[in-house]
């Protein structure tokens, strides 16, 4: 009988494995169905044993192991203990005595591991202890192949226990997994650790090179050790989600720290442990396969922490021992690219976990430590420079970044560097090495970069790419400002004058190729010097925080001043001379060093001006131009008109040159605005440079302490005039938008003087209004001009400017700006109608409304809000009218409607936010009853017919749409309830669609939506409403989705809440549903178990839609799913 089954399975396996041309599809299907039936076999243990004994077909053997695995999971509760033990012993014997293909063996090992884990839940790990003893015997006493088999058993066992949250072994709830893991890690994990260390000690005694089977064994041992050291040690204090994150770590680079309880003390404080591990690493570091896990173990040991480390004495001893071995290693070998990241990780972990202890070390050890770290950092820095030039692996670069991260803590915690000579010496070495690696020879060692076409759209500019690196280098520079700042200005001055001389030489003749590449080298040097200088002088801006001058820089400037080295007069004079491009000032050496760096940048700008005026603009570097603007931006935001009261001490030179109401501050403002003007005029075609220029402008004027000194200057006026006088259609996208945003931001500083603010905005808006009116009063109506390109570009420019103004609106200016914009917005539906065939304009109009709603609506009075709603709805309605029932052959039509609809949905979302976030200060006397959500839903009703399911497949449109739904749902469920029937149908249809068609974020939103709606229906007893009927099918839909694994396990708890709320609403339906599910089960035992599971699901859960029963239901549901997925085979 069994022989017959085996023969049948073997022939089916041969058919499945046969090449496609030998067997027919039909044969293949039949063969597959034989295996599908085989998988459903109940109590298949005997037949599987027979197969393993008798069949030589690996495919059949693999299937047998797989079938056994599933059966054990499914039937564990019904198996006799004696059967379990004999089966486990049989399998163990089997793998030891039989040669099988690796994948069959692995699967059998997994079955053993699952069985051991399952029984350990009942017997407290007794069985596991027996197994481990057998395995240890095997490893110690057998031939090499058996040793490796033993290691594999341990590895499988550990894997089975390692994860609780995403465990493959279904049928146990998370709590049970968790308990099993805790028990394992408290007992046998230590035993495994100790045993492995014992074996590695033997390895340490043997000589290199290892024989092949020795390499394999050591590899396995190291893997086990790595698993023990990167084990996600569970703490009952952590929430399930966090434990899941810990357990999802597979790479030791990002593994959580080795956090151990006291009970580990005797193992990890063994004095031989660290020397042994370093010795092993030293032995295997040339072997690719072994060095990685060995180094990972060292990294983990550097992060030892937790309760085991509470006592000072053993902790210090451990640290000592670690450092001694570490220094011994790194001072005797040259660190290779491959191992650099691991070494840097060790340093990083030591600093994170032992920085306070390191401070307590003797000066000698501390100095050695700093010295070794410095040497490593410089070594990695050089390696990184080489990697960049060759575009190879980024090992050294990553290692260098890791070292910098460690240094960041060192400089902060060991400092200040000024009092520790050794520390400042180290900082200087690293800083200078970095500068050197960034500069071209002869001063530096930068190699020519591979010349590749660079896209600009991605954020791959150096300041973004090397942001973290540069920030850290800035920290070094500030720690040793006394040497870094002079180094930087000397380099900058020498490069600038070389650049100027080159241009004077090549004026009026053509450039040779050598000269052109020489210019590029200079540009690259200056670019890096500026990037470094910008980071030394200023912190990076995070969000809208107030920018401060770093205290080290202030201190440095004060010191220079008090030593008489620098004076205010000389510094101010330098600025004045630079503005007029005059010769070097006489007293230049007495110029404050910070001001001097700024002076140098002014000089650099002068070279740019010179080159432009000599007609050689094409030779300038837009990249360097951007970097200059980036530097000016930072410098001005931090140093211009500093607020003295923010600082505990302030440099008299900085204050005297750049303080409020100083001549110097006015000069700098004038200068920077002139530079902005020049860039806007000459470099419109360089989008990146233009953007950097606009950013500089907007950042400076968005600070009202600065903009108050800018708002009424002639320079600003000139900038406005420039924007007004540019030929229409020459400014690239976002150009006017950015500039007008700046003008708008600048006006906010006049909040205390309404009249001056009004006249300022009249000055900005006047010309725009005139041009707008001119367009509106075109003879023959707007439509007649639709083909007139000049009109089109004028309209585009105007819309860009209006969008910019809206984006720059702030609380003090919003109402005034709206007064200007309202009549314009009011005309937009006519524009929409006249230009509906010109997508650029259609989209700009939609965007304008969106931005007004986003930046202004929250400040507007109810009356003004209503005006905005009216114009917006009229425009959206016109849009819908123009596009309804439209059929076109244009291949880009779908793409365009997608873009349009995203804009409309954004607009509606911004409008609805008014209901959650309203900052309007005026009283609510006005009789306005329209709420923003009414407007949004009304708007949605216009465009819903345009949103096809195909369009929803665009991810951003999809997200925007569902976000809007959930927002309405959160604030006003009753609005959804009151929707017209067809609109409601469409909405619910899209929710149903959202549950299955898109990503899990959309599923989450849909579940939230259902929860909200069902709870609302239940609480308000809305039986016999369209909503009640509409929601009804979702109970079955959700239960089917969860039973068939179609809802991601992360979303299970959200799903359970929605299901609970739906059950509350439709209790009759639920009972019927359960009944029909039970009827579908043909197997009486399965039916019984399912019935019991359903019973437990609602046991003691009141169906009243309250919080407590909902939580109880959630817990029940978790168990229910774990249980049911274990035995219910629904396909």
């Amino acid at each position: 009988m069994t022989d017959q089954i085996i023969a049948e399975l073997e022939s089916a396996a041969n058919i499945i494995m046969a090449p496609p041309n030998v067997v027919t599809n039909e044969q293949r299907h039949t063969a597959e169905s034989i295996f599908l039936d085989f998988r459903k076999t109940k109590s298949p243990y005997n037949i599987c044993r027979e197969i393993l004994e008798k069949s030589g077909n690996p495919y059949v053997m693999f299937e047998a192991a797989e079938v056994m695995k599933n059966a054990i999971i499914r039937e564990w509760g019904f198996l006799l203990d004696s059967d379990k033990v004999s089966l486990r012993q049989y399998l163990f014997e089997y793998v030891i005595t039989h040669e099988t293909p690796p994948y069959v063996r692995e699967r059998i090992l997994q079955v053993i591991a699952i069985m051991v884990k399952r029984s350990s839940i009942d017997d407290n790990g007794r069985e596991r202890g027996n197994l481990l003893r057998e395995v240890e015997n095997l490893i110690v006493n057998s031939e090499p192949q058996k040793k490796i088999l033993g290691c594999n058993i341990i590895i499988h066992l550990m894997q089975e226990y390692a994860t609780t949250v995403k465990s493959t072994d279904v049928g146990l709830s998370w709590e049970v997994h968790f308990k099993a893991k805790k028990q394992f890690q408290a007992t046998d994990l230590k035993r495994i650790f100790q045993f492995t260390i014992y074996l590695l000690t033997e390895v340490g005694k043997s000589d290199m090179p290892f024989a092949d089977n020795m390499v394999e064994l050591v590899g396995h041992l190291l893997k086990i050790l790595e698993m023990v050291l990167t084990w996600g040690y569970v703490s009952p204090l952590l929430p399930k989600k966090l434990i899941g994150i810990y357990e999802a770590v597979y790479e030791a680079d990002v593994a959580p720290a080795l956090k151990l309880p006291e009970s580990w003390a005797e193992y990890v404080f063994n004095p031989d442990l660290l020397p042994l591990m370093f010795q092993i690493y030293w032995k295997v570091r040339d072997n690719d396969q072994l060095s990685h896990p060995a180094l990972a173990c060292l990294v983990q040991l550097a992060s030892l922490s937790g309760r085991v480390m509470l006592e000072d004495e053993p902790r210090m001893r451990y640290l000592h021992s670690y450092l001694k071995a570490f220094f011994n290693l790194v001072s005797n070998v040259t660190i290779k690219s491959r191992e650099s990241v691991g070494i840097a990780n060790i340093v990083k972990k030591l600093i994170i976990f032992f920085s306070q202890d390191i401070l307590k070390l003797t000066k000698h050890i501390k100095d050695t430590l700093l010295d070794e770290f410095t040497r490593l950092t410089c070594h990695f820095c050089e390696g990184a420079a080489l990697e960049e030039a060759q575009e190879e692996d980024r090992n050294f670069s990553d290692a260098f970044d890791g070292m910098l991260e460690a240094w960041t803590s060192i400089l902060q915690e060991f400092g200040p560097a000024t009092v520790d000579n050794n520390l400042s010496d180290c900082a200087k070495r690293v800083f200078e090495k970095y500068v050197q690696c960034r500069l071209a020879p002869p001063d530096g060692c930068r190699r020519p970069q591979p010349d590749v076409e660079k896209g600009e759209e991605t954020d791959d500019s150096d300041k973004e790419l090397y942001k973290d690196q540069l920030q850290a280098i800035g920290l070094f520079g500030r720690a040793i400002a006394g040497s870094s700042v002079p180094l930087l200005f000397n380099l900058l001055e020498s490069r600038t004058s070389t650049l100027f001389n080159s241009f004077q030489e090549i004026r009026n003749r053509t450039l040779s190729i050598g000269e052109a590449s020489g210019l590029d080298t200079l540009y690259e040097d200056i670019h890096w010097i500026l990037l470094i200088a910008g980071q030394v002088l200023c912190f990076d801006r995070e969000g809208n925080e107030t920018m401060m001058i770093p205290s080290e820089i202030i201190r440095y400037s004060i010191d220079c001043c008090s030593r008489g080295q620098c004076t205010v007069e000389a510094s101010l004079q330098a600025l004045q001379l630079a503005e007029n491009n005059s010769i070097m000032p006489a007293d230049f050496e007495k110029c404050d060093h910070i001001i001097r760096l700024f002076f140098d940048v002014m000089k650099l700008c002068y070279v740019e001006d010179y080159v432009i005026s000599s007609g050689m603009k094409q030779f300038l570097s837009p990249e360097l131009g951007s970097t200059i603007m980036w530097f000016l931006n930072r410098f001005c935001v931090n140093y211009l008109t500093p607020i003295e009261s923010y600082y505990t001490e302030m440099s008299p030179t900085i204050l005297g040159c750049l303080g409020v109401d100083t001549e110097g501050a006015q000069l700098v403002i004038r200068y920077v605005l002139k530079k902005i003007q020049s860039n806007v005029y000459y470099f419109q075609s360089e989008t990146q440079l233009l953007q950097e220029t606009i950013d500089c402008f907007c950042h400076i004027v968005s600070n009202k302490h600065k903009s108050i000194h800018i708002v009424n200057t002639t320079s600003l006026r000139q900038l406005v005039v420039l924007c007004e006088s540019l030929e229409p259609g020459t400014m690239p996208q976002n150009g006017f938008r950015g500039m007008y945003r700046g003008f708008s931001l600048c006006g906010a500083c006049l909040s205390a003087e309404p009249e001056r603010m009004r006249s300022y905005f009249v000055g900005i808006m006047g010309s725009l209004q005139t041009r707008f009116e001119a367009v509106c009063t075109i003879q023959g109506g707007l439509a007649s001009k639709a083909e007139d390109q000049r009109t089109l570009v004028v309209i585009v420019d105007l819309l860009e400017a209006f969008i910019g103004l809206a984006k720059g609106a702030l609380m003090p200016t919003a109402t005034l700006l709206f007064e200007f914009l309202a009549p314009i917005l009011n005309e937009m539906h006519a524009f929409m109608s006249a230009f509906n065939n010109y997508h650029v304009i259609v989209q700009l109009i939609l965007e304008l409304f969106g931005q007004v709603a986003k930046y202004m609506l929250c400040y507007l009075s109810p009356m003004d809000s209503k005006r905005l709603y009216e114009s917006a709805l009229a425009t959206v309605q016109t849009y819908a009218k123009c596009n309804m029932n439209r059929f076109t052959t244009e291949s880009f039509a779908e793409d365009t409607s997608f873009q349009d609809l995203v804009l409309v949905l954004e607009l509606l979302t911004f409008i609805i936010s008014k209901d959650c976030f309203d900052l309007c200060v005026t009283s609510n006397d006005e009789e306005i009853t329209v709420t923003a959500s009414d407007v949004s839903l009304f708007g949605l009703s216009f465009i819903l017919p345009l949103m096809s399911m195909d369009l929803l497949k665009y991810p951003s449109l999809c997200m925007q749409y569902y976000r809007l739904l959930v927002l309405v749902n959160d604030i006003y469920p009753e609005k959804i309830c009151g929707l017209p029937q067809d609109l409601l149908q469409n909405l619910l249809k899209s929710i149903e669609f959202g549950l299955t068609e898109f990503g899990s974020d959309i599923v989450q939103i849909c579940l939230d939506f259902l929860l909200g709606m069902a709870s609302y229906v239940y609480r308000h007893k809305l039986v016999n409403t369209p909503l009640y009927a509409g929601l009804r099918p979702f109970l079955k839909i959700l239960i089917d989705l969860t039973l068939t694994h179609q809802i991601n396990s992360d979303l299970m708890s959200t799903a359970s809440a929605s299901i609970y709320a739906l059950i509350c609403c439709y209790q009759e339906d639920y009972r019927a549903l359960v009944e029909s599910l039970l009827q579908m089960q043909s197997d009486p035992m399965t039916r019984e178990r399912l019935a019991a599971a359903f019973n437990n699901l609602v046991l003691n859960v009141e169906m009243n839609c309250e919080r407590v029963p909902k939580l109880r239901f959630r817990d029940n549901f978790d168990k229910f799913i774990a249980n049911v997925h274990g035995f219910l085979l629904i396909k």
Binding site: G455, Q688, M731, N837, T896
Partner: protein
């Protein structure tokens, strides 16, 4: 289509050139440009540069507004590109002649009968809607001397 004599239907743009120049960097996505001598709608626009310190170049991908073919071009951002005058006008459909010409009425009541029923799906849709007695608006796209019905829209009571 294509053999239609434009001269009968000249409007205000007589004598004007079919294109006008615009700096490459000022072009926009969804706007128009001439690529390889064909009027195109820009569907993708990105910038790049030659070497780190080089000047910007604009990479344009456009779709021929008549044929739907895709064209690409790359051009220094300071250069001028030709931008076609593109006119899109809506007409009321009043009749379809036996030989397949459309009778179209513009907003101001002028009639024209020089455009054929478009080919393919759009033409089928148009005829079906017309036969069903629907009120039909045709969007006529005109550029560089070519003219064709590019979209139809059935009016509902809501519309004008």
């Amino acid at each position: 289509m294509g053999d239609i004599d434009d001269s009968h239907f000249e409007t205000g743009d007589s004598g004007a050139s079919a294109t006008y120049p615009m700096q490459c960097s000022a072009l926009r996505k969804n706007g128009f440009v001439m690529l390889k001598g064909r009027p195109c709608k820009i569907v993708e626009m990105s910038t790049s540069k030659t070497g780190k310190h080089g000047h910007a170049k604009v990479h344009l991908v456009g779709i021929d507004i008549f044929s739907g073919k895709k064209y690409e071009d790359i051009c220094p951002s300071t250069h001028n590109m030709d931008v076609p005058h593109v006119k899109r006008e809506d007409y009321q459909l009043t009749d379809i002649s036996d030989d397949g010409y459309l009778s179209l009425m513009s907003d101001n009541g002028d009639l024209r009968e020089d455009l054929k029923v478009p080919e393919g799906e759009l033409g089928t849709q148009l005829r079906a809607d017309y036969d069903a007695g629907k009120d039909i608006l045709c969007t006529v796209l005109k550029s560089c001397g070519e003219e064709v019905v590019i979209a139809v829209k059935t009016n509902t009571a809501l519309d004008k």
